[in-house]
Symmetry: C2
Subunit: 430 residues, 2 copies
Amino acid sequence: MVDIATRVYNHTWKIDPIVRSVLDTDFYKLLMAQTIFRRHRDVQVTFGIHNRTTRIRLADIIDAGELREQLDHVRSLSLTRGESTWLRGNTFYGKRQMFSPEFMDWLETFRFPEYLLEKEDGQYVLTFHGPWIETTMWEIPALAILNELRSRGVLKGMAKFELQVLYARAMTRVWEKIQRLKQLPDLSISDFGTRRRHGFLWQDWCVQAMIEGLGSSFLGTSNCLIAMRREVEAVGTNAHELPMVYAALTDSDEELAKAPYHVLADWQQDYEGNLRIILPDTYGTTNFLQNAPDWVASWTGIRIDSKDPVEGGEEAIAWWNQRGQNPKDKLAIFSDGLDVEVIERIHRHFRGRMRIGYGWGTLLTNDFRGLAPEQALDPISIVCKVISANGRPTVKLSDNPTKAMGPKDEIERYKRIFHVGAQTAKPVLV
Amino acid sequence: MVDIATRVYNHTWKIDPIVRSVLDTDFYKLLMAQTIFRRHRDVQVTFGIHNRTTRIRLADIIDAGELREQLDHVRSLSLTRGESTWLRGNTFYGKRQMFSPEFMDWLETFRFPEYLLEKEDGQYVLTFHGPWIETTMWEIPALAILNELRSRGVLKGMAKFELQVLYARAMTRVWEKIQRLKQLPDLSISDFGTRRRHGFLWQDWCVQAMIEGLGSSFLGTSNCLIAMRREVEAVGTNAHELPMVYAALTDSDEELAKAPYHVLADWQQDYEGNLRIILPDTYGTTNFLQNAPDWVASWTGIRIDSKDPVEGGEEAIAWWNQRGQNPKDKLAIFSDGLDVEVIERIHRHFRGRMRIGYGWGTLLTNDFRGLAPEQALDPISIVCKVISANGRPTVKLSDNPTKAMGPKDEIERYKRIFHVGAQTAKPVLV
């Protein structure tokens, strides 16, 4: 029996929406939004999409009309009553009322702001201008839409069983990864794969497979909607946009040098415990740690995001030791281009020396490498980054110069102020 | 939206029936049934199940109560109006009205006869006594039920995603086989996998994958129900039970020696063209061909079912040449334990020298080898064979003595009469 109503309802959609909920975003966006809401509600910023995998000409694959329809659909969304209830009533990181009533009131009335879409050299130039608190919300849905529209563009030409076997292969691959990870003692791993996922349903599948396959070793997902639906933890930390905007807003070299710590000072007023995770690499990890005030060393942990993981982890351990902290009490979160081999390598190297957490992103939720001809479904390295704040350009140096961003002269100025010397460029897969 | 009615309906089934239609059987059973209906309606035979893979103790895996429920469900089936219409209105092998109105009238009133179920040494002793025309119909559903109940017994303990990945792996495997077969020029292949399939839905999936993956190289399926639903050809030839019963009914050695040709003489009155396929191995191929009347050589083709395929094919070509027939006009159907490697080997060897058809069975519809621990889902070699006719034991010699059946003294007598000398035993995988 076909449920006629369901069939008719499904066919009345003009489009098949990719992002269907305000909560289909990373948890850290809400954490950061609350901090922005409290402190920087009037800052104007611009976010922009940047596809680092230039060989994939997104503007040739994705129809501009379809892209607009998807983005416009996001603009029609608002937080539902059930979603609001979940945010207000749930515990996050063991804490009730993570989000203040004032912030929740704002979030309930939030609508996604305008976007600007242009094409340039086979790529979409997609930008968001406006209040930081609004534009920041675009990062994840914009990326998820571009990635899923690209997948759809490739899948469109495939026949029914070809498609089914494509997913059969991808499922087998994820499952085999999970079976390997299962062998790792004391594993703690989360899904960080929203932004560059193959598609929403696929991310949801991956999370469920992790739930079944890893049991208590699976900590949760960064995706709020999936966390809500699958009743697992919503997890996340914070991102480079905070130090980047804080830095851009400074008026002197001296202030600039202090900006990264200013971020942490604000953050620790808002969040505690496992949410106090340092992201040290925005302007170079080494300098950041050397010049950090002691209270930074007392934070719960650190995120290693652009350095070689073993090198970055060793640096953190040495720093904690030097600051009189016991690394065994500390948590290192690895989240850069993770896949099973890397995770195994990190685990072998650090297990027992500190607490370890893995934020597994693109190669969990979008590992279709080699499953379509000409690598057409291989993940791409696409980001949505803050470009300017109150009219001033933002800068990111990173530990990997391939990930650096900003105008050349500003990059040089930042390098000077943060004492960043020669860096080794590493290719960025995802 | 859940279709409540569908959900409620599904849950009112006491069991999940494996065989849900009289047509969920092999096409050759209907062809043979019509010949039996015309000529041997009063012959009483006994069919019996035999599991050659003794390491798999079916009676330990399959609950006797569940087995009875499934068999009883088959006894509740009758040909539906739409099924009858399809048989009456369809063309089979290019011919309309393959089945006579008299036979169709009989089939419409047909109900499956009683069965006898006992256990012995970890195996089920499942036998069917009664008129040949009725008991013959049990072969395929009985085998399909035993195979699927065994699969279900193994799958019962598996979790949701473990199951999904199991099928993902099996799908990928079938698809990769299809992609390899696709490379073979002038391929003609059919599904012969009903009896030992993993399950009905799985066979249906495999057929659909062949339709999409192989296009016109896929000839059709032996399964009538799937042929009807998927609108492809229903295909089949004839089986050892005909010469076995004909032989058992003879009253002298002289008559016995002629029995295999007597079968063909009757058959060619009933069927023409591509249905005139010799099955020569019941009492040894070599002797059968040497002593065959010339009109047998004029038949369309031959089925190579228990000899090494290259040896059997060469023997057929030599025989046709010797009888003044052009092998290039002839059709050889290979159907014994086929898988991609064997098909490729046969194709390399014979392509261009005669027409070739493949009847791909168990390793199409039940290749779950290695996908469950302890080979628990590997296919088994189980058959349902005629054991006696009008109270006399039946005998099969085959070209492979591993497949021989019958009482020892009768086997010796048949060997003498059919001049079967030393034979080489080959292991039987499926």
